[in-house]
């Protein structure tokens, strides 16, 4: 168990799984995919068209799952393994990230001072380093804390100290995103209805809802193309009207968790047939929330990385600076050098 845990927590394993999923999507995108919500007649038509197009290759392609790539175990297994790796990685890093975020000792050992990736030293017996260093750090957006022990002043400056949590938010968002898509595909449904003005049609799936078409209007450009079109719809629950409104492209009407979208229209002799799509997708909200969380996590992780600087000022005016930063702080080395120069300049004035 422990070995499996360590295996899935490895960064290179996650990278291999991402690459495998990527390759499978790439392959799947090269073949027409079996429609998910077509009726048996449409499916038969679709299959006949695919067989006609691929000829002798059709059978081996069907057998290999090329036409249902995104629903086949070949695709779903790496996706599930990737989700598992993300979960293991999140749990594995939780404690370390939490400690880095909330436990910030002001004092720093000699070893930590010396082994930091960015270090600087300065001797200035005359200058008031205990006020110069915090001032320089604050000007660069660092939150400074200090402690004094045996005449030695210890300082610690942190910037974006909560940023490490963003990595966890990103990983959590990926898991929520996958949960949302599973929720959508398991609990969601879609139904198409076609009717003309004055007609009423029922929606299945145990909703007890029906739709009445109260008219369709279309505006056209001078060249005859559609500028805008809309249908007036009444939603009924049994015989009781529960809501009414205008349905346009990009502007669906919603009632009771069901959305009604204007799918298409077809001009007949003296009327228009309107096709609406009734959609119930309980996973959509979770997907949007997960998407926003992902975006927040990525933005914070990459643009506001945690950086921290330890300073030790000894009684003789000896200053030692040590800087560390998250690996995404691309420019921290240069900033540290600039900070050291600023302190040196201020101490010399």
């Amino acid at each position: 168990m422990q070995r499996a845990w360590r295996f899935f927590a490895r960064l290179d394993i996650a990278a291999i799984l991402v690459f495998a999923v990527l390759l499978l999507i790439l392959l799947g995108s090269c073949f027409p995919q079996l429609p998910s919500s077509a009726d048996p007649e449409q499916l038969a038509q679709w299959e006949a068209a695919v067989r006609a197009r691929y000829g002798r290759l059709a059978d081996p392609l069907v057998a290999s799952g090329a036409f249902r790539c995104f629903r086949s175990p070949i695709f779903l297994v790496p996706v599930v393994l990737l989700a598992l790796a993300t979960l293991v990685c999140t749990v594995d890093r939780w404690r370390g990230v939490w400690r880095r975020t909330f436990r910030h000792p002001v004092r720093c050992s000699d070893v930590a001072l010396e082994s930091a990736p960015h270090t600087a030293q300065l001797a200035s017996p005359e200058a008031d380093l205990a006020s110069i260093v915090p001032e320089c750090l604050r000007q660069r957006g660092f939150r400074v804390r200090s402690e004094t022990a045996k005449g030695v002043v210890h300082l610690r400056g942190d910037r974006n100290r909560l940023a490490s949590l963003a990595t966890l938010a990103t990983h959590l968002a990926v898991l929520l995103l996958l949960m949302g898509t599973v929720f959508s595909s398991v609990c969601g449904w879609r139904e198409e209805v076609t009717f003309q003005s004055g007609e009423t049609v029922s929606i299945a799936h145990g909703t007890g809802l029906a739709l009445r078409n109260e008219g369709f209007t279309i505006d056209r450009h001078p060249d005859g193309s559609a500028a805008d079109y809309q249908a007036k719809i009444v939603v009924l629950e049994g015989v009781r009207e529960v809501t009414r409104g205008t349905v346009q492209v990009n502007r669906p009407l919603s009632y009771g968790g069901v959305g009604f979208l204007l799918r298409s229209y077809e001009g007949r002799e003296n009327h228009y047939d309107v096709t609406l799509l009734a959609v119930h997708d309980p996973g959509y909200g979770l997907v949007v929330v997960a998407g926003l969380l992902l975006l927040f996590g990525l933005t914070v992780s990459f643009n506001f990385p945690h950086c921290w600087i330890h300073a030790r000022i000894e009684p003789g005016g000896m200053l030692r600076l040590a800087g560390r930063a998250d690996k995404r702080a691309w420019d921290f080395g240069r900033e540290f050098e600039r900070l050291a120069r600023e302190v040196e300049r201020a101490a010399g004035e």
Partner: protein
């Protein structure tokens, strides 16, 4: 105006190349001035087009390509100003001109201003396309720098330090990735409102996800020591190849393999 901007970009590229070969300082300044003027001309051209069409110039592949060029040049000029480094210019402008040439060689029918289709009238779509443009532009810069890193021989003083280039490649990828994520998210919201589903494995959606996964891979491989240096640069260049395929190649794939796609561009 777009033709003038395109010509100015070629002149800027020539100036950047001449500056790299001769190390003449005024040529570098001239190259930057030409690039900035080209950007200004693109801005005026796009604004005029948007004014005449009565909508944002993001309604077809030609307009998107022009906005894509505009965004690459804008981000490059900002990078040049903050980095104080002009030696990446020939590489970034070469990539920019590749996209610009694709735009200006579109057939007349595609360049003609057309009324906006009802399906394209959505604020989510506008955000989706705008954010894709910024993300793609950042990846174009990363690819330009990636090519520079690949052609550079160690210790050659003509080019910026390798670590400096790699750091900038990372920054460009890290800048573009959240924008690409936002683009996919807003595209999903738009698709939910327009088609009743936020994801449908449409070839364009599949390739957008391939692009996203590729850059996710780049960002995850970066901490691994053996994936730094030239390998990182190569990943950034391949990534932009995927971006270009998502933009230009997917419509070709849809036509060639006779796939179904709801995406116009």
């Amino acid at each position: 105006m777009i033709a003038v901007a395109y010509l100015l970009l070629w002149l800027a590229l020539a100036a950047y190349v001449a500056r790299t070969v001769t190390s003449t300082r005024w040529l570098g300044r001239a190259a930057t001035a030409l690039t900035a003027t080209a950007w200004g001309a693109f801005t005026v051209g796009l604004m005029r087009r948007g004014w005449e069409a009565g909508h944002w110039p993001l309604a077809n592949r030609y307009e998107f390509a022009l906005c894509f060029v505009w965004a690459i040049v804008a981000i490059y000029l900002l990078l040049e100003a903050s980095w104080g480094e002009r030696r990446a210019g020939p590489f970034v402008l070469a990539i920019t001109l590749m996209v610009a040439t694709y735009a200006v060689t579109r057939p007349a029918g595609e360049k003609a201003i057309a009324p906006l289709l009802p399906a394209l009238r959505s604020v989510w779509l506008q955000i989706h396309v705008l954010t894709a443009m910024v993300g793609y532009a950042a990846f174009a810069i990363a690819a330009g720098l990636g090519v520079l890193r690949l052609v550079q021989r160690d210790g050659e003083p003509r080019w910026p330090a390798p670590e400096e280039i790699e750091r900038t490649v990372n920054r460009a990828v890290a800048l573009g990735f959240p924008w690409l994520t936002l683009s996919i998210l807003t595209g999903a919201i738009w698709a939910h409102n327009a088609w009743g589903r936020y994801w449908g494995w449409d070839p364009k959606e599949a390739w957008a996800l391939v692009t996203w996964l590729w850059y996710l891979l780049v960002l995850h491989l970066r901490p691994l020591r053996r994936w730094r240096g030239r390998r990182l640069a190569a990943l950034a260049v391949i990534g932009f190849g995927i971006v270009l395929f998502t933009f230009v190649g997917v419509p070709w794939l849809v036509r060639t393999v006779r796939l179904e796609s709801l995406h116009g561009f």
